[in-house]
Every structure is written in C-alpha cells, then in structure tokens.
C-alpha cells in the first residue's frame, strides 16, 4: 500500500469510527486559566533571551513587515524589533519572523541581530584568577543596557549576521552600516542583490536585510554595496568568522 493510499484509508476509517458524542457536557477549564498556565510556562524560557516572549502571535503575516521573503514556499519577514533589554532598549532593531515558527496563538519565536557592541553593566568584586596566566575573575550581577555603535559606525565594512535553518534553506539576517544600501549574495546557485531597510523609528541608522540560500551552499559570499553600488566590504558566510567580521 502506498503512503497516499494508506493516508486516504486511514482518514476515512477514522472518520467512520468517530466516537459518539459524550453523553454529558464536561466542565472545561476557562481560557483565562489556560492563558495563566501558559504564561507561567514561558517565563523561564523568556529569561534566556528573546526567542520567546510574553506576547503571542495575533496575526500572520505580521501587520508591519519591513521586508518579505520566500524560501521555497516558507515565508519570512523583517519586522520592527519588539524585545527590550534591561534598560528598555531594543535588543534587535528588527526581528526575523519565519512563518513556520510563528503561528497564531503561539508565543513569538523570532531572531535578531544587534549592530554595535552590547553594553553590559556589571556590579561585583573582581578577584585574581587562580589559573595559570593570572587575570581576573568577575563574579556578581550584570545587566544588558543598549549597544555602543561608535566603533562600528567608524567602519562601514563591519556588520553582524545570524541565520536560522529551515528544512533545506538558511535564512540570514544582517545588520550593516547606514551607508550600505544593498547586499549582493553569491552562492553556487546564483547571485542576487537585496536592498537594505531601516526601522521606521531610525531611518538614518544602521540598516538591515534578510535573504535565503540553500542550506548546502558551500559558498555564501556577501558583498556590502553603498548607494553608488561600490563595494564597502563583505565576506563568505559559509566560512568561520575571522576578526571583526
């Protein structure tokens, strides 16, 4: 029996075998109660980063996309950042939303990349390291509070990238210098040029883009281009990162 036949037979047999309706109504847990329980479940995970948050997907596609893409039928978008750090600064100015992982009713499951060096405030007492070579061991508490873009803005070639894997594809998101207006992506499968965008609250700031490539790509050459189409930097994302980029 082929898989098609097996599925057809199964579904018709199950539909035929559907049990009779319950004789008496069953008391149900209220939706409010369920929501409270879900909230309790996601809190510990939310503390680990911004993959999960307290908010839930209320519509798909998202209402405010800045960029949209399609990886062999799997849609994705860049949307304005949503998650703030300890000081109320957005962890990522934009977030990558992949439709497959963000269904209505679920908590958001997004990823992002920040442009700049994260500012970490630390409170504690340094002690001398017992390891050979000495150094310092820091213990105490730290809070994340925005990013320092100074060094990054001084170097138009500097950029940050991240990616997610999706059933045969990789979807990359990149954060680049404000002068980078497009990125050229070259893989063994071909070349495409993707325009960069900014979130509405900072039109002159760092720019962002997302694109997809086949997961098996041995080369993912990223080239940063300014408004005149001149190359300002880039690297092969398929190779391990060296130096700043």
């Amino acid at each position: 029996m082929t898989l098609d036949e097996r599925l057809r037979r199964t579904l018709h047999a199950v539909a035929e075998a559907m049990p009779e309706a319950a004789p008496a109504p069953v008391a149900r847990r209220s939706r409010k109660r369920v929501a409270l329980l879900l909230g309790a479940l996601v809190v510990p995970l939310a503390a680990g980063g911004y993959v999960l948050g307290a908010e839930y997907v209320n519509q798909m596609p998202p209402k405010n996309p800045l960029m949209a893409g399609d990886a062999h039928g799997e849609r994705y978008w860049l949307v304005p950042g949503r998650v703030a750090d300890d000081c109320g600064v957005k962890v990522s100015a934009v977030e990558l939303v992949v439709e497959e992982w963000n269904t209505v009713g679920d908590e958001w499951n997004t990823s992002g990349s920040s442009y700049g060096d994260r500012i970490v405030n630390w409170v504690g007492t340094p002690t001398a390291s017992p390891l050979p070579g000495g150094g310092e061991v820091r213990s105490g508490m730290s809070t994340s509070c925005g990013v320092d873009e100074t060094a990054w803005l001084a170097d138009p070639a500097r950029f940050e990238s991240g990616h997610v894997k999706l059933d045969g594809d990789r979807i990359y998101h990149v954060a680049v210098h404000p002068t980078v207006r497009s990125i050229r992506v070259t893989t063994p499968g071909g070349t495409e040029t993707v325009a960069t965008i900014t979130p509405p609250d900072r039109p002159d700031g760092p720019r962002y883009a997302a694109f997809d490539v086949p997961e098996s790509s041995a080369v993912i050459q990223l080239t940063l281009l300014d408004a005149a189409g001149r190359e300002v930097g880039g690297r092969d994302l398929a190779k391990p990162r060296t130096g700043k980029n």
Partner: protein
C-alpha cells in the same frame, strides 16, 4: 465592456452581476453538519471539540449568511482555522504533540499507527493532509480555501509526507 465572439453575436456581456443565492443556512446545517463534524474530528481528534468547532463556525457565519457566496468552503475554512487555534492553545498538545501515541480507533493496527502520526503533525500540515486525502481537494483548492499561497500549501504537504514516510517505514 463588450467582447465580440461570433460575428454579429455578442457574448459574455453583462452589466448586472447577480451572485448565486446561497442555500439557506438551515439546509446547509442539515445536509452538511455531520460531514463537517467528521472533518473537524480529523483536525482535532476529539468528537466533543469537533462539534463545538462546527457550532462556532455556523454561529460565526449566521449573521452574514446572505453575504457568503459559498457557505461550505467558508465553513470548512473557519473550521480549519478554529481547529488550528484550539490546537495551538492547548497546553497538552503543546507539550506532547511531537509524540505519536497509538490508540485503538479503527481496530486496524496499521491505520491506527498512521492516525497517531497524522495527529502528531503540526496543525497546518495536518490540515493540508486531511483536506487533500479525506476531503479529496486538490492543492490549489486547498490554497484557495486556506487563503494561502499554493507554493506554501505544496511545501506543507511535502513536509508532512516526508515526516510520515520516515516514521511509517
């Protein structure tokens, strides 16, 4: 605008469009409720929940019945969406949906095993499988019914079949 076909004969010309009148809600309810409950049952795995969803779908359509040209596709779409929402809200499903538990339903072990794995599919993939193999809908119709791109529906089905092929070896 008029289009000319055979010389001297006008065809396809009309200024007034009269949409086909939808069947009365009572008729649709009487003729299709059972089938819709079975569809909802395949999407939820619960008879009680299936009946609730069908009731909700009819209730949602009731006030605007006259504006709905094709009640049956409309109701099916509502049921698929309601089932997906319910499934996503369910804590038990959230925690256990990756695990396929075989329970005797059809009394044919091979079919029960298949059903267990269909139930473990993500809501969207499960909906496409049910609409395609139970409701006998081609993928382009499913795409239309779910208001989703045809490529996405094809991708959902392909992923579902890949997953089922692996576990049903």
């Amino acid at each position: 605008m008029q289009r000319r076909g055979v010389p001297g004969r006008l065809w396809g010309v009309t200024d007034v469009h009269t949409p086909p009148r939808a069947a009365p809600a009572e008729d649709v309810y009487r003729d299709h409720r059972d089938g819709l409950v079975r569809l909802a049952y395949l999407l939820t795995g619960s008879r009680e929940q299936a009946e609730d969803l069908v009731q909700q779908a009819f209730a949602g359509a009731w006030d605007r019945w006259q504006a709905i040209d094709q009640p049956l596709p409309y109701l099916k779409r509502a049921i698929v969406n309601l089932a997906a929402d319910a499934q996503r809200r369910g804590i038990r499903d959230r925690l256990f949906r990756q695990r396929a538990r075989v329970e005797p339903v059809t009394e044919v072990p091979e079919l029960d095993e298949t059903w267990a794995h269909i139930k473990a599919l993500p809501p969207r993939q499960r909906a496409v499988v049910v609409l395609h193999y139970y409701d006998d809908r081609p993928l382009n119709e499913i795409a239309e019914l779910l208001s989703r791109p045809a490529a996405t529906v094809r991708s959902d089905l392909r992923r579902a079949l890949e997953r089922l092929r692996k576990v049903l070896k």
